[in-house]
């Protein structure tokens, strides 16, 4: 039992030390966004059970595309050869195309589930959330 207590205390200290740089803010924003959209859309029970799995899948795909592109740029662009720059350029174009493809594909699915009026509401809610977050950051930095 003493050994267990030691292991637990040590592990807690280890994780507590890493707590400050844990990646919680991203998850937090995602949870806030979902909550914001949920309030704005006022989905029925039946719409909700179909909408969220599809919307989550859509977001997973868009985020994956953006992350993939961001990571490619993170390697540095100052000393790129022409070939490497061309590859990055192609990736950039393909990523935008992929985003459009995913958007088109899922927009149709989402429209079928919640109807065109709520689809428009969804787009507005997404924009409003972005503006609210930007305002929040601006207020903090002022």
């Amino acid at each position: 039992m003493k050994h267990i207590a030691k292991i637990i205390i040590l592990t807690c200290l280890f994780f507590w030390s890493g707590y400050s740089f844990a990646q919680t803010p991203k998850d937090k924003v995602e949870a806030l966004r979902v909550s914001f959209i949920s309030q704005r859309l006022e989905l029925t029970n039946s719409e909700s059970e179909k909408f969220w799995p599809v919307y989550n899948e859509y977001n997973d795909k868009i985020k994956a595309i953006k992350k993939n592109l961001r990571q490619s740029y993170k390697k540095g662009v100052d000393n790129l050869s022409n070939k490497e720059a061309e590859e990055l350029y192609q990736l950039d174009i393909k990523s935008k195309q992929a985003e459009t493809e995913v958007h088109t594909q899922y927009a149709q699915k989402i429209k079928d589930i919640i109807g065109v009026k709520k689809f428009v509401k969804l787009r507005v809610a997404e924009e409003e959330f972005k503006l609210e977050i930007i305002k929040n950051i601006k207020d903090k930095s002022d």
Partner: protein, 395 residues
């Protein structure tokens, strides 16, 4: 020393699972960009749990064994895990329903130390590997099947090992986000004996908000999230099991068995705090009173010689002890990238089922570390945290 050997075996087994974990490999490609998306909804979760029940004297001063053993307390350590091995998602494009099937491997190692004042310490080990199958119909229902075979042995002295198996089947129906009912059957040892129980459950309240969950015969919980990191709970649940006990101390004085069976159960009522420290680690601490404390010794051979009696009724020692205090703490480690399932009522229920019927029939209860709780404030928001959401032109 044998315990160390057993721990090593469990760790090697877990390590092997991580080495060949399909979660790392089984990812879907995103068209021409060859982007890999997570395939599973479940993370691989490892739980370390410590439980201690204070020692107390046997009240029956006339019983020969009670006088000999004097006091009874418990120390329990368990290490358990689950990992997804197959996740199949099917989208019905006509009805717009997303169904998914999850197959998980589970594993459990428990070391139990019943503390008797007057005999040398015995270490009782229970270990097993099981499997669970969960089917989310995509509408309102979720099916859950679990089999948890395990072996128990007294590792302090040479003794026989016994094979047993717990299993559960549950049909869960989400009437709405705020109300769920469950029905099923369970074969469990947590009430100290092999029992076949109906499984009946209801939940009132959303899983990511305050909720009351009554899951017979497993637990009654009132869960109150305090912000996105803390959840406080008041609960009552049984804990117990059947173990093998070496007769090295000649406690079984009627026959000459080398090993006899030891069963225990208690009903724990208390308070618990769960802290979600980050997306990889959770910690919980609980305390309260342990009542209905029972300890029973019986001979497997004597039982078999009297086949007309119900199983495990022929015992040579059985005592009920008064209430005492217990403490319980544990850590949960979560690994792997998963699909998101925000506001997906059925997936929340899938997660809750998987954690309510926890690994190895120990009824530890690891909480619901994967169900996201909505934060109220935006104070942690910074530019890095929203880079997937905004473009330059948004400013």
């Amino acid at each position: 020393m044998k315990t160390k050997g057993d721990i090593a075996k469990v760790l090697i087994f877990i390590g092997t699972i991580f080495l060949f974990n399909p979660q790392i490999k089984a990812q879907a490609k995103l068209d021409s960009l060859k982007i890999k998306l997570p395939k599973h909804y479940f993370k691989t979760v490892i739980n370390v749990d410590g439980y201690r029940k204070a020692s107390q004297a046997f009240a029956d001063t006339n019983d020969f064994l009670a006088k000999r053993l004097k006091t009874y307390g418990l120390n329990q350590f368990s290490l358990s895990f689950y990992t997804p091995i197959i996740t199949d998602t099917e989208v019905d494009t006509v009805k717009h329903i997303t169904k998914n099937t999850h197959i998980l491997i589970t594993g459990n190692y428990m070391r139990l130390q019943p503390v008797f004042n007057n005999i040398k310490q015995h270490d009782l080990v229970k270990m097993g590997v099981g499997m669970r199958f969960i089917f989310n119909t995509g509408k309102k229902a979720v099916w859950f099947f679990d089999v948890s075979p395990f072996v128990t042995r007294d590792v302090t002295y040479p003794s026989e090992a016994y094979f047993r198996m717990a299993s559960t089947i549950v049909y869960s129906y989400n009437v709405s986000e705020k109300f769920n009912w469950r029905v099923g059957a369970t074969k469990s040892f947590m009430w100290g004996n092999k029992n076949y129980w109906p499984f009946l459950g209801i939940r009132i309240g959303r899983l990511d908000k305050t909720n009351l969950s009554i899951q017979f015969p497993r637990s009654i919980n009132l869960n109150v999230p305090i912000g996105p990191k803390w959840t406080l709970s008041a609960y009552t649940k049984p804990q117990g099991g059947m173990y093998n006990f070496s007769n090295h101390d000649s406690l079984y004085y009627i026959g000459n068995d080398a090993t006899f069976s030891y069963t225990r159960y208690e009903l724990n009522t208390g308070f618990r705090a769960d802290l979600r420290m980050n997306d990889k680690f959770n910690f919980y601490f609980a305390f309260g009173t342990s009542s209905k404390n029972n300890i029973t010794f019986y001979s497997e051979k004597a039982n078999k010689d009297k086949p007309k009696l119900p199983p495990y009724k022929t015992y040579f020692f059985s005592q009920n002890l008064g209430p005492t205090l217990f403490i319980n703490c544990g850590m949960t480690f979560k690994f792997g990238k998963t699909r998101t399932f925000y506001k997906d009522r059925n997936m929340y229920d899938v997660m809750d089922l998987n954690n309510t019927i926890d690994v190895g029939d120990n009824n530890n209860g690891i909480g619901n570390p994967q169900i996201p709780i909505t934060p109220k404030s935006k104070k942690d928001v910074n530019l890095n945290s929203i880079q997937d959401l905004i473009d330059y032109n948004d400013f």
